[in-house]
């Protein structure tokens, strides 16, 4: 089974971002990067499919050459090879241009399944996976919490407002991974050493110009300062009074 996991480097989730002097971009000073949280799940799911059915897991990213660091982590956790679609303007790439670049690369890789994160924890688009599938005309199930796939057809569960949905699909397919689908493993020393020998290829690409222009980037207004109503059960009446008469939410 040829398996692709699409992964992206994103700022760490504990970032306290600052806006750059241009007022439209993130100040890169002090920003640290990590593999997007859900992409770790995508890689794990890919490795588990490989372990069950055989085959190969390729991790694919559109991003800077520096992404090799995050890709090596994926290789250490069991992926077999990595491809960087090198894009120095990756931070200004929108979901559609990203999906176009990824889907044209994926189209030539003879894959049966592509695993993406549910959402990348930078712009929170939750769009690239289903866009890749749509551009390729492939099946797609989003936010998947349970997956069965044999290489030609599969069943996936997802949670929506309606309940737990069970979907059937045919290969090739794009699956976006929700928390709970697979528990990412830690890279052991053996994995880390093995990863050093696995190939990380760079491919030059020139994705389409973005369809979105940032006019302004700002910190959201701070919430008005709150107050401590009191201590212990004795303060409950004061809280109820404040919720009813001041905040008017009761």
């Amino acid at each position: 089974m040829n398996i692709i996991a699409c992964v992206k480097r994103v700022p760490t989730t504990d970032i306290q971002p600052k806006v750059a002097a241009d007022g439209t971009s993130l100040d890169p000073a002090g920003v640290k990067y990590m593999l997007s949280f859900y992409d770790d799940i995508a890689v794990e799911q890919g490795v588990q499919l490989k372990e069950a059915h055989g085959g190969e897991v390729t991790v694919l990213t559109l991003g800077p050459a520096d992404s090799a660091k995050e890709l090596r982590e994926c290789l250490a956790k069991g992926a077999d090879k990595a491809v960087i679609l090198k894009d120095d303007a990756w931070t200004s790439r929108d979901a559609f241009a990203t999906a176009q670049a990824l889907s044209s690369a994926i189209g030539g890789m003879d894959a049966q399944i592509v695993l993406c994160g549910r959402v990348a924890t930078d712009r929170d688009n939750a769009a690239v996976g289903p866009m890749v599938a749509t551009l390729l005309g492939w099946s797609c199930v989003t936010d998947v919490i349970e997956l069965k796939f044999d290489g030609t057809k599969g069943t996936a569960k997802r949670e929506s407002e309606a309940g737990i949905e069970t979907l059937e699909f045919t290969a090739p397919a794009v699956i976006t991974c929700q928390k709970g689908l697979a528990e990412p493993r830690y890279a052991g020393l053996k994995g880390i050493m093995a990863a050093k020998k696995k190939p990380v290829d760079e491919v030059d690409v020139s994705p389409a110009a973005p369809q979105a222009t940032v006019k302004q980037l700002e910190l959201p207004p701070a919430r008005p300062a709150g107050r401590i109503v009191g201590e212990g059960a004795a303060a409950v009446d004061a809280l109820v009074d404040a919720l009813r008469n001041e905040a008017k939410v009761l």
């Binding site: 939750a126 797609c140 980037l217 905040a247």
Partner: protein, 307 residues
């Protein structure tokens, strides 16, 4: 005036409130709003949409069994109606549908938008970045503006007019289909929809103790129980209840955090709540910096007294 297409969700013939908010947002920038509604019972729900701002309704009673099929049907309506924008609610279904429709229309997607304005055919959007730590104002140059809208953010129109309902066919060309939908176990209200959310964290000590939050939620009647990642990872609560950057983003009228420290990743998922109450025994817990009202003390004394 450019036409805007809005996908409306419904449950058993009643339109979802989040979708009515999307209709309201569309109406605030255009007088020509076409609602698309799919699935069994959609004609009945569709007939009510004029009141909420639709000027025309396209009902697709045979659609909705397949996510890729629905996307094709909706994209076709956008094309047929000459839509310059496509909007839907940022629900689980909306967030599944919108990127597919956008890709079919050769457009990018603006997800979870909190602001939308138009000058002619040119749209300006506001949306959170980095889980709401930043707000971005963006101008779209997409062929069709495609956006999902954050819930509890846009107003619902109640005094619209009548809308003509037409029925259209659904495609049978799809590769994914919904075989079954089973009701969720546990609470009926989803944290992302409930007007009141009561979340518990590690401070509750053990899973059984969430009973005090469930009792409080029952006392409210319209409340859902949420959780921090610490307790979800510990297996105390299901993933669907996790609030935060890697869980659900909620924006209820009232958010009560019980035994939750207020880590930055948790706060990212709830800081746009209208009113925040924190109950924590540590007076220095970061959650108190954010809370409108704080109660310092033991959750096991305070929560039952509140119930």
């Amino acid at each position: 005036m450019s036409t805007i297409i809005v996908h409306v969700e419904h449950t058993g013939g009643t339109a979802r409130r989040a979708s009515l908010e999307a209709l309201g947002a569309a109406r605030s920038v255009s007088d020509s709003v076409v609602a698309v509604i799919a699935g069994e019972g959609c004609e009945a729900a569709g007939a009510t949409l004029g009141k909420h701002g639709a000027s025309k309704v396209v009902a697709l009673p045979a659609a909705g069994k397949s996510p890729d099929g629905l996307a094709k049907d909706v994209a076709k309506v956008v094309g047929d109606e000459g839509g310059k924008a496509f909007l839907c609610a940022a629900t689980a279904q909306g967030r599944d549908l919108a990127p597919r429709v956008a890709a079919l229309l050769g457009s990018t997607l603006f997800s979870d938008c909190t602001g939308l304005t138009a000058a002619g055919d040119s749209y300006t959007i506001q949306r959170p970045w980095l889980a709401g730590k930043l707000t971005a104002t963006l101008e779209s140059s997409a062929p069709v503006l495609c956006a999902t809208l954050r819930r509890n953010t846009f107003g619902v129109v109640e005094d619209g007019g009548d809308a003509q309902v037409i029925t259209a066919d659904a495609t049978t060309d799809f590769t994914t289909f919904i075989k079954e939908i089973s009701a969720k176990s546990g609470a009926a209200l989803d944290v992302s929809e409930a007007p009141v959310v009561i979340s518990g964290g590690r401070g509750l000590g053990e899973p059984e103790n969430f009973k005090i939050l469930e009792d409080l939620a029952a006392a409210f009647g319209n409340a859902a129980v949420g959780a921090s990642r610490a307790v979800v990872d510990a297996g105390w609560r299901p993933h669907g209840e996790q609030v935060g950057q890697t869980g659900k983003t909620v924006s209820p009228q009232l958010y009560i955090a019980v035994g939750i420290s207020g880590a930055i990743q948790h706060v990212a998922g709830m800081k746009t709540s209208k009113v925040i109450v924190a109950i924590n025994k540590d007076a220095d817990a970061p959650i108190f910096k954010l809370a409108d009202y704080g109660l310092v003390g033991d959750a096991f004394e305070i929560v039952p007294a509140l119930t």
